[in-house]
């Protein structure tokens, strides 16, 4: 009897037994027959040995909470956190696989120093000495380039090292490339950064307008929060304003394709129609708004404008004119305006990189806020202009901690004397320590790093933490590549994998990531989140925050005066419960106290200035994040705020039902700006006849350094591609799957074409995602940036495409 026959026979026997039991109504019939044949020992509960704890997801700015399952020092499972208001137990495919991001086999586990062209292992002690040498050799030329993936304490430590310690202000983050225009939009409109609304708006809105946004792929959990309402029988109208058909378009009631830069004309066209038809909200505007126009050179304050001036400025933006500028039919524009004209509807606008990565990014942000204010679609649940962010802590670490070249924590800026004084007091620094001159913004920093010292390239060392500029900077041939051959330029990279940047670096520091360390993030809806270290980092990998503090201590020991406060104490002095100083710069002492807690509780004192009040650390331990301002109530508990500026919910709005209490004009009013449509810096021409747009895909996050190491995600989307319109492809004789050469004035790239794949660009447009490190589309993109936010435009430049091999 072979195995097969045996199985067959035993199967027949069990079948017969089961049938007999059924016939006899045997009580044991409910029991699986195998259990009766050979009773197995009682199985242990499967969760035994698995410890579950909360953490926010490591990827986008949505800020979903996950439950992390840990067994024997390793993450073994992830589940959506049912207690989290953000995601209510659901995740996207990246979130479900976030735990795998820790376990790529090529994790960096020891410090590496480039010697004779090769990266050679060295000790941590030596690595810290090398950094200290670089700082001492040229303190003004030493810059930190950080990230919206820094935890709040990591960003705060780097901020303090540069602004309080080295007094140079040479710190800027990759979030400059991601949401700087949203910041300038909020500042110029409301006088204070970050959205007034929150995700609760998505549950209430009747209409959701997505401005150059593809949330079905980029913010999937928020998108399904909207579309799942339809399955519950609710009505929500989705309108997609886009430059190419995306997965989001498939869910939308209307998809309005516009030509790149046409969004400026569309927003002005809506405002024009609201004024022309008299359907703007005169009461709301009369009580809560002022009009504004820009100056030359542009500033965040602009200059005053009255209603007649505003009306006159918009006069030329007739639907027909807007159709000409944007390609959106006049009747569709009238339809959009008719929605804003209705007070009974609640309208939420969503945007992310489409409006922010824009050479007129501040302008389009202002205009979208403006039409919401002009039509009174503001301040009620569901009525909100809401910007989304791409990184888990772009809001928490960059916008709130202020890790930008001009900023100090809590919305303070280095250019204002009273702000410097306030920061010096909170940091216990001698008067005048903080430098009044802003450092270089991202593009400028890297341009100077890629320029010889004798030609104005006064940045000699950049320490990169938690980001991959060798793939994410625009126009890499100008901003990144030259630095790697110029003498005297030294690149330090703290990372977890051998990314393109790490492989090009002179010194590589292995970092701990995500639940290998304590951390805090701040998401897109002002929610501050906390998690604890759950597993040890591999090899000698250590926290970025520790690295920063250890370097500061090395400088302290070498006698750099800035590393002391005015009482001579170390800038990062941390004491234990007994009040005794803990040498946290020594790795084996770092987790003897909770450094995150101490740094956060120090930092939160800055948060009162702009009414972005943060609660003590211990409150966040208990919560799945809290949305600031978090204000203590009479009974001692801490209350978060969902709708800012709204008297119904915001404890700081006390005078009227809406109070813009950080108003630019100091009269509790927000500003409705006029900005004209202007042509983009580069448009398709005879030589480069196509628009290029770049962006993300669902499966991969940013440059894929983590997600490309997750088998499930990599298999689903293994490499970058070029989306084209089918007619354009046919004209060039290109089949789907064939390799093309894509070329701009700045660089070129070979990659395969995918027709009718994830997106469908209109004729004359191509799209390439930037997640693939080996196919760097930023060789091709343009480094021109918005004059106020300094954020470059990755969404439009002129390219040409030819079949590989064809001339």
């Amino acid at each position: 009897m072979d195995r097969r026959e045996f199985l067959k026979a035993s199967a027949m026997a069990t079948a017969a037994a089961a049938a007999a039991q059924l016939a006899l109504h045997d009580q044991a019939a409910a029991q699986p027959t195998t259990a009766r044949q050979a009773p197995p020992p009682p199985a242990p509960p499967p969760a035994e040995g698995v410890r579950w704890d909360k953490a926010p997801c490591r990827f986008c700015g949505t800020g979903c909470h996950v439950q992390v399952g840990v067994k024997a020092g390793k993450v073994v499972a992830i589940a959506g956190d049912q207690h989290a208001e953000v995601n209510k137990g659901l995740l996207c495919v990246k979130g479900y696989h976030v735990g795998l991001a820790l376990y790529g086999k090529d994790r960096l586990t020891q410090p590496l120093l480039r010697q004779n062209g090769k990266l050679v292992p060295i000790t941590w002690e030596r690595a810290l000495e090398v950094i200290a040498d670089r700082v001492l050799a040229d303190p003004k030329g030493f810059a930190i380039y950080g990230s919206g993936q820094w935890t709040i304490p990591e960003g705060y430590a780097a901020q303090k090292l540069i602004k309080a310690g080295l007094a140079s202000n040479q710190i800027d983050p990759n979030a400059r490339l991601c949401m700087a225009s949203a910041v300038t939009g909020f500042l110029s409109t409301y006088g204070v950064d970050e959205p007034a609304g929150c995700y609760d708006d998505l549950d209430r809105a009747d209409v959701v307008i997505m401005w150059g946004n593809n949330p079905a792929e980029m913010h999937p959990v928020l998108f399904s929060r909207i579309v799942d309402r339809r399955l519950r029988g609710e009505k929500v109208e989705l309108i997609d304003l886009t430059t190419r058909r995306t997965r989001t378009s498939g869910f939308c009631d209307r998809t309005l394709l516009f030509t790149p830069h046409g969004d400026l004309a569309i927003a002005n066209g809506i405002a024009h129609l609201l004024l022309a038809s008299g359907t703007w909200d005169k009461e709301f505007v009369g009580k809560f708004c002022n009009f504004r126009q820009r100056t030359e050179p542009p500033t965040l304050d602009g200059k005053a404008l009255d209603l007649d001036g505003y009306r006159a400025a918009l006069a030329s933006y007739t639907p027909e004119k807007v159709e000409e500028l944007s390609g959106v039919p006049a009747e569709d524009l009238r339809y959009l305006a008719s929605l804003f004209a209705r007070r009974d509807l609640r309208i939420t606008s969503l945007w992310c990189m489409g409006m922010n990565q824009h050479t007129r990014g501040t302008a389009i942000n202002d205009l979208v806020h403006g039409i919401h204010l002009l039509s009174g679609h503001f301040g009620r649940p569901g009525d909100a202009p809401t910007s989304l962010t791409g990184q888990p802590s772009a809001c928490g670490t960059v916008r709130e901690v202020g890790t930008l070249a001009h900023a100090l924590p809590g919305g303070l800026v280095v250019t204002k004397e009273e702000h410097r004084k306030e920061a010096e007091a909170l940091w216990n620094l001698p008067a005048g320590r903080i430098n009044a001159k802003p450092g270089y913004h991202t593009v400028e920093m890297w341009k100077r790093f890629s320029t010889p010292a004798d030609k104005g390239g006064d940045i000699s060392t950049i320490w990169v933490q938690v980001t991959n500029p060798a793939r994410t900077l625009p126009n890499l041939n100008t901003l990144f590549a030259p630095s790697r051959t110029l003498p005297g330029k030294f690149l330090i990279v703290s990372d977890v994998y051998p990314t393109a940047t790490a492989m090009a670096a002179d010194l590589v520091l292995p970092s701990a990531m995500w639940v290998e360390k304590n951390g805090m993030f701040g998401n897109s809806e002002r929610r501050t989140q906390q998690w604890f270290k759950m597993v040890p980092p591999p090899g000698q990998a250590r926290d970025d925050c520790w690295q920063t503090i250890a370097v500061a201590r090395k400088l302290f020991e070498r006698g750099v005066p800035g590393m002391k406060d005015k009482d001579g104490k170390f800038l990062f002095q941390v004491v234990d419960a007994a009040g005794k100083e803990v040498p946290i710069w020594q790795w084996d002492s770092y987790y003897k106290v909770n450094v995150d807690e101490q740094l956060f509780n120090e930092y939160r004192r800055f948060s009162r200035h702009k009414h972005k009040d943060l609660a003590p650390y211990s409150e966040y331990v208990k919560a799945r994040g809290l949305r600031w301002p978090v204000v203590q109530t009479a009974d001692g508990s801490w209350r978060e705020t969902r709708f800012r500026f709204s008297k119904a919910d915001d404890p700081y709005a006390t005078k009227a039902e809406i109070q813009f209490y950080h108003s630019v004009t100091k009269d509790d009013r927000a500003l409705i700006w006029f900005h004209p449509w202007e042509p983009p810096p580069e448009r398709p021409d005879r030589d480069y006849p196509l628009w290029l747009c770049t962006g993300r895909v669902l499966e991969h996050w940013h440059t894929g350094t983590m997600t490309m190491r997750i088998p499930q995600l990599r298999r689903a989307m293994p490499q970058a591609y070029c989306e084209m319109n089918r007619d354009d492809a046919r004209a060039l004789g290109i089949h789907s799957g064939e390799v093309v050469v894509l070329e701009s004035k700045r660089g070129k790239l070979e990659l395969p074409v995918w027709l009718d794949g994830r997106g469908q660009p209109p004729p004359g447009t191509v799209f390439v995602p930037f997640f693939d490190e080996s196919l760097a589309i930023n060789l091709v993109t343009l480094e021109d940036y918005d004059p106020l936010s300094k954020q470059p435009d990755y969404k439009k430049c002129a390219v040409r495409v030819r079949k590989k091999g064809a001339s």
Partner: protein, 285 residues
């Protein structure tokens, strides 16, 4: 006689003409309806799945089933599982092992959303619910009923298990072209993962032989037991009594697995005291 013959001929001719006319008319209508139906299918697929109801024309209504047999196909369809409902369920450890292995191959860990073993529409909203909302079995091929309530954006969690890019006939296979942006070392090939996921749980506990086993896995996103344990469930996972619908009446879920808060003063104190991540009350410097 000749008159009578002429009359016969006339009748035969007119019958023939009527017959041809009827045949041509019926054929024509069929073609038109087919053409309309394909146009409608295109419209319907473009419409948002589950959102926009299809409008029906009079011809649809005429062609639609009415009368006593109207529900026949649906009833016949619904009757499919009934045929198997009371069939004796044969279970073996080998079948169970095979089913769990197949299940694990599509998941990074127990509880991860499975990847999709077939092609999925990459643009727009794929019509997953058509098959997976209730489940479909055609011959031996089962599209399982989804284990959780329907959601709108399936591809948010469930991605293809292989490269979704379609190649067109005649196009050469893609070659992976690497870019060089002045890295001093060549980019490393992306390494494998060392992740070892939580395996599928063992069997549930029984208080005594014959007691209904507890549910050994979370029931979050796995509320619909019949997805795996129903009449179309894989052999080895299928319930011996799939006709019973209220599973949790007898099979208890575990609060620890389901993230339900289980509060005890002792537990709360223990969590707060856990070192080294503990909150210390020491002030800031």
């Amino acid at each position: 006689m000749s008159e009578r013959r002429g009359w016969h001929l006339g009748v035969a001719l007119s019958l023939a003409v009527a017959g041809i006319g009827l045949w041509a008319g019926v054929r024509g209508t069929g073609r038109e309806v087919q053409a309309k139906a394909s146009a409608r299918a295109a419209v319907a697929s473009a419409a948002v799945a589950g959102e926009v109801g299809e409008s029906r024309s009079y011809s649809d209504l005429r062609r639609g089933m009415t009368g006593p047999n109207a529900e026949l196909p649906a009833r016949w369809w619904a009757a499919l599982p009934d045929a198997e409902l009371f069939a004796p369920v044969v279970q073996s450890a080998a079948d169970r092992e095979a089913a769990l292995t197949r299940r694990a191959a599509r998941r990074a860990f127990d509880g991860a959303p499975p990847t999709v073993p077939h092609a999925v529409d990459q643009l727009g909203a794929p019509a997953c619910l058509r098959c997976h909302e209730r489940g479909v079995k055609i011959a031996q091929l089962v599209a399982p009923r989804m284990s959780h309530p329907p959601m709108g954006s399936c591809v948010q969690c469930h991605v293809a298990s292989e490269d979704p890019r379609r190649r067109e006939p005649g196009a050469p296979a893609t070659q992976r072209a690497a870019t060089e942006v002045a890295p001093s070392l060549p980019l490393q090939e992306v390494a494998d993962s060392a992740f070892v996921g939580l395996p599928a749980p063992g069997r549930g506990e029984r208080a005594w032989p014959g007691a209904p086993p507890t549910i050994p896995h979370t029931t979050w996103m796995r509320e619909r037991c019949d997805s795996c344990h129903g009449v179309w469930g894989a052999s080895g996972l299928r319930s011996t009594h799939p006709w019973r619908q209220s599973c949790t009446q007898c099979h208890a879920p575990a609060a620890a697995l389901d993230q339900r808060p289980v509060w005890s003063p002792a537990g709360a104190a223990a969590t707060a005291a856990a070192a080294p991540r503990a909150s210390t009350s020491a002030g800031a410097p």
